[in-house]
Symmetry: C2
Subunit: 117 residues, 2 copies
Amino acid sequence: MNLLPATLFSALAHDTRLRCLVLLLEYQELCVCELTEAIGAAQPHMSRHLGQLREAGLVTDRRAGLWIHYRINPELPSWAMSVIVETAKGVGGLEPFASDLSALVAMPDRSAAPRCA
Amino acid sequence: MNLLPATLFSALAHDTRLRCLVLLLEYQELCVCELTEAIGAAQPHMSRHLGQLREAGLVTDRRAGLWIHYRINPELPSWAMSVIVETAKGVGGLEPFASDLSALVAMPDRSAAPRCA
DNA sequence: ACCAAATATTCGGTCAATCGAATATAGCGA
DNA sequence: TCGCTATATTCGATTGACCGAATATTTGGT
């Protein structure tokens, strides 16, 4: 897969999108309502930015009934994956991500259907 | 040193700035005219983007007579440094960087005063 | 067929990034 | 002091990112 540096970095330059990727890195797969709740954003906001991530080729989506599950595109070039991983490592224990990650820990059981707002 | 992810990634999202960082990573220190020649941009263009890198805290500058030498800020957080290194590794052998890097190889001897346009 | 939940899109407006061209500043040597 | 070289800044214009609010689409259940 081909990915221009500017495409990746423009995507990572927005907190909402970066946090989505960090969360997807940890949880493999999350649906929109889970991401929305974890980040505490409005639904159209999340949908817009997930759309941008999809258009950039950074994530893939999978429809399962009413929900749409996103995951990091498994075909990402390895340098891009490394960039995301290094960012997640460096930024994981710091503000403004700590609060969001702890919110995520309290997320409903992923084996059941997500309990959305 | 503190560096917001959005600050780093916004900087990396522009090809000129990304290439400057990749070049500085390889050459430790370069002056503006060397970067300008290597990238093949107009001088105000380079100056503007170097200014942004400086404002973002990603590079430091050192005046030596008429020339101003830039280098990657040695106080960058390690995750940011890792991001730059991984990007340089992944992108180094590919377009559109290959042509620029080969142009750099042909750069004048760095031990002498730079021969600028 | 209809309703409700999850997700996506459109619209109008604002603010920031970028550019080319022109101009300004700073240091050096004669 | 003057002029040259390297670098920085300003200006006006264009383009693109982002937002909130409203609306549309898709799907499953009844």
